[in-house]
Amino acid sequence: MTPTYYLLLSALLFSIGTIGVLVRRNAIVVFMCIELMLNAVNLTLVTFARVNGQLDGQVMAFFVMVVAAAEVVVGLAIIMSIFRTRRSASVDDSNLLKY
C-alpha cells in the first residue's frame, strides 16, 4: 500500500476546502467547505494510523466526526437565526461591521 496517494488526496481535498472558504460567498457553502477540510483531515489521520499500525488515528477520526457534527449544529443554528432576521445567507450581505 502506498500512503503517499492517500496523503496527496487528502491534501488536495483540504486545499479545495480552503479555496472554497476563501472564494465562496454563501455562508452555507463556506461551511460545507470547512466540513470538507475536516474530512480531509480524517483521511490523513486514518492513513497515518495505517502507516503506523496503530488504532489511535482511527479513534481520533471518530472524535473529529463528532466535533464536526457539533460544529454543524452550532453553525446551522447561527446561520438559521441570522437568516430569520435578514432573509439571506450571503456573507456579502453581512455588512454592518466594517473598518
Binding site: V41, F48, V51, G53, Q54, L55, F63, V74, A77, I78
Partner: protein, 505 residues
Amino acid sequence: MQEQFLAQAQQQVNAPDIAYGAIAPVLIVLGFACLSVLVEAFVAKERRWGLQIGVAAAAIVLAGASLAAFISSNDAAGGPTGKTGVTTLAGAVSVDKPALFLWGTLLALGVLALLLIADRTVGGDMQTEVFPLFLFALGGMMVFCAANNLLTMFIALEVLSLPLYLMCGLARKRRLISQEAAVKYFLLGAFASAFFLYGLALLYGYAGSVKLADIATAAVGTDRSDTLLFGGLGLLVVGLLFKGSVGPFHTWTPDVYQGAPTSVTAFMAACTKVAAFGGILRVLTVAFQSTQWEWRGVLWGVAIASMAIGAIFGLTQTDVKRMIAYSSVAHAGFLLVGAIAMNTDGLSSTLFYLLAYGFTTIASFGVISLVRSGSGEATDLSQWAGLAKRSPLLAGVFTFLLLALAGIPLTSGFIGKFVVFSAALRDGMAPLVVIALVFSAVAAFFYLRVVVLMYFSEPAEDGPTVSVPGAFTTVAITLGTFVTLLLGVLPGFVLNWASSGGFLS
C-alpha cells in the same frame, strides 16, 4: 494488515489512573455546566435567571476552593517548592504549576465576567442559556491550558469555542449586528480549527503520537520528514494564534468585539486570550523547544506584525469597542514576545501579563457597558467627548484603565510589559524589544487620545448618559481596577506564583 490491527485490539487496555484531586476544578465547572443545562430544562422561566446565577457562582467558588485545596496539598508534598504537579488521565492532562496558575487566573476572571453577564440593570437582557454556555466555555478553557496531548487540546478548543460563538449572537437589542458577529466568528473560528486539526494530523504522522512529549522526543531524532514536522507545526500554530487574536490572524477580533454583547466581549477578550496563550506556551515549550531555532524567526515576524497592526489600525478607530479590540491585537503581539522567549522568565512573565491584562480588560468593558445613549451603548468615540464633565468618577476609572493598557508606571500594565521585555532581552532578542517599545509608544497615543477627548472636549448636546451601575457591575469594575492598581504597586506575590515552576509533560 488485518492481523496487525487485531494484535493491537488484543492488547490489554488498562483503565487510566485519575488524580481526582488535581482535576477537581475542571470536573466541578463542567459538572455544574451540565446541572445548569438541567436547570434550563426543568425550572420555570421566571425563576431561571436567579437560579442560574447561583449555579454558575457556586461552580466557580467550589472550583476555586478545590483548586486552593489541591495547591496546598501539592505544595505540602515534595521538596521546598512543592511538587511540580501531576500528569493524569493517561497523560492527557498535565496539572503543573503553569496550569494551576492559569486555572486560578481563569476562575478569577470568570467571576468578574459572570458579574458583568449577570447584571441585567445596564446591559443585555440575554437568554438564560448564557450561563450554561459560559460554564462550558470556562471548563473548555481550563482543559485547554492543561491539555498535554493535541487531541485533548483540540476537543478543549471546540468546547471553549462553540459556546462562545453562540454567546456572541445572544444580544436582544442590536440583534442584527450581534448575529453577524456570531456568524463571522463561527466561520472564521471553524476555519482556524480545521487548520489546527490538519496540523495535528501531520504531527501524528510525524511522531506516531499526538502527545506533546512524544513529539518532542521525535523531533530530536533527525531521520524523519521535516516537511511533516514544520508543516504540522505551522498549521497548528495558525489555529492557536487565531484564538489568541494575534497579528495577521486577528481579522475576526474587531467585528466580534463590537458585535457581541459587551459582557460577553469582556469574557471573551480576557479569558480566551488567557487560554489561547496558555496553549501556545505549552505547545511551544513542551513539544517544540528543541527545534526553536527553525521556527522562532517566523514568530518574530508574527509578533511584529501583530504589534504593528494593533497599534496602527487602533489609531484610526472611531468605535471604542473596536479600539479596545485592536489594542488586544497589539497586546497579543507583546504576549507573543514573552511566549517565544523560551526561558523560565519568558513563561512566568507571560503568565503575569495575561493575569494583569485580563483584569484590566474586563474592567474596561464594564465601564464601556455603562456609557449609554437612547438606543443602547454609546460606543462611538465622538459621543464620549467631555464625559469627564458629566461623570468624573467614571472618566477617572476609565483613564486609569487606559493608562494600564498603555503600560504607564504604577499600573499592572507597566509591570507586565517590563517583565516580558526583560525576559526577552535576557534571551537575546534586543531588536524585537526595541520594536515592541516603539509600538507600545504608538499604541499609548491612541489611549491618550481617548483620555484627551474625555477631559478636554466640550460634551455634545445629545451626548450619552451614564447609567447607574447595578451592584454586580460596580463590584466587577471595582475589583478589576483594584487588581490593576495592586499588581502595579505590589506585583511580588503574583510574580512569585507565576515563576514557581515550569511545564510538566
